[in-house]
Symmetry: C2
């Protein structure tokens, strides 16, 4: 990833190096690396693919933070909090270009198509969310949203790693399903941590999704079991515009309700379906590492 930042303007290079060093769990490339390792893919290609996936992810984060006006990411100031919007837009574009270049190095055309389609899915998801009214949504809309936002890139990382491996189409599909299931679980856990996490570790205020009018799974469960709750009726009526004090009360109600446990159960179900997919593969250290990754996703605290 750092090598991709070498042939650009020195000021830009420093910014990219900083951006690429700022951490993150690197969970999307890890997923691809473990699958490539299990299926016997060429190591260099798997690493290049991992770098492409992580750069694509970073590019979308740079544009997202600009769009949301977010000031912090992973506990450090975002690019847009320090730079002009123009430079931030172009930095994201540069990362897209470099991610596409790395993906092209896979020498695998279907993978290039998958790469482009995944980018379109992610961006279209963000546009849909932007155009949609805030407030109440249906459960199906929530699943579509978290697929576009998160699971699509997990799915791509897993499927692409299988594509560059010496395996049949059935195995490629199985890995795609594994990526999908743990990607869905990952975002559900993210949405739970928004209610239950420590502000210091999550890196944003508790309940910030709902305070911004974004309804996620814990809220959906709460609405289902408390349809006559005053705050819920306000939310249904006014979308994201009800006052902050009432929203904070709703956050507290959700935190102490069984909606959190229901959401955890659902994340667990996604992970279990993912683990089922792995069963036909040869037991051993490679499969065990993937199982470990899947379980980490529901037990993590950040």
């Amino acid at each position: 990833m750092r090598a991709q930042a070498e042939d650009c303007h020195p000021d830009m290079r420093a910014v990219l190096q900083n951006l690429l060093s700022s951490g993150g769990k690197r969970i999307r490339p890890t997923l691809g690396l473990l699958i490539g390792n299990m299926l016997g893919a060429d190591l260099d290609k798997t690493i290049t693919l991992g770098a492409a996936v992580e750069m694509l992810h970073t590019a979308t984060l740079v544009h997202d933070d600009l769009i949301d006006g977010a000031l912090l990411r992973r506990g450090t100031p975002t690019l847009n909090s320090r730079w002009a919007p123009a430079a931030t837009v172009l930095t994201g574009d540069f990362l897209f270009a470099k991610a596409a270049k790395l993906a092209a190095e896979s020498d695998c055309l279907p993978l290039m198509r998958l790469f482009a389609e995944t980018l379109a899915t992610i961006v279209n998801g963000e546009l849909t969310q932007m155009f949609s009214s805030r407030g109440l949504i249906k459960r199906e809309e929530y699943y579509r949203r978290i697929y576009a936002k998160t699971a699509s890139l997990f799915e791509m990382s897993a499927r692409a790693a299988a594509m560059i491996s010496p395996v049949d189409d059935k195995t490629v599909s199985a890995m795609q399903v594994f990526g999908y299931e743990i990607g869905m679980a990952f975002q559900i856990v993210d949405d739970i941590l928004d209610f239950t996490g420590e502000q210091a570790t999550v890196g944003k205020p508790v309940g910030s999704d709902l305070l911004q009018g974004l309804v996620t799974l814990p809220t959906l469960y709460y609405i289902e079991s408390h349809p006559d709750d005053l705050e819920v009726r306000n939310l249904a009526k006014d979308g994201g515009s009800i006052d902050e004090e009432k929203m904070k009360n709703l956050v507290i109600s959700i935190q102490s309700s069984d909606s959190i446990q229901k959401s955890i159960n659902e994340a667990n179900q996604f992970v279990e379906r993912g683990l089922q997919v792995l069963l036909p593969f040869k037991a051993g250290v490679e499969r065990a590492a993937l199982e470990e990754l899947a379980r980490y996703i529901v037990h993590r605290r950040t």
Copy 2:
């Protein structure tokens, strides 16, 4: 191109249809179509490639207009003049994704690499221009800038069309050179029209580049032959910050100087070198169409 806008949010679809219908000369895809036609490429593939090139071009324009705060493009309001920056950023990203998807349909891996590299060149060029101080630049810097901004995509369109044709590497290189030469000429003529064009046809105020502190070829020639001119010395001293009245005087001085003719001569030289490249190819209607395109580039008025 319109088909690419079908699988997205309805509001977005309307915007994309509008954006793709807003005209423009479509000169970059035309270049590729004529080359593909001359070299015997598959017509469907050539058309898909042309759509990919034009969508990539449109994506960069959408982000450029946002960055420059431009309100008009091709005489109609820009996306950013009517929409929030967030939606404009995402629209550009969506077009990048769809352009990459179209490029992947070429079934030609080197073309995908070329596509990603060209995007990186264009974006890096914009970043370099943003970080560079305004005011005086060297001639080499001007050439580097117009290569990144314009000639790189002409070069890509021409080279990619040859890549998907049943021809040898030498022919691919020849077409790349042809695209480069007429792409350089195209941008030089754009920079001349900024001084000599009618505001109504060019779509922006006369001399707007220089008024924004952007030094182009006519100004470079003027500086070389009038090093002791008061406005030139001010420009050298203060970069883009000298007052507007003085800049307007400099624009008038350049318009009535021989710097315009020198710049036209230089654009002609680029086109002539391009035409030389075509000579070894079989004379006929296909080659004649490419020669016509090259000549149009220096004689156009918009």
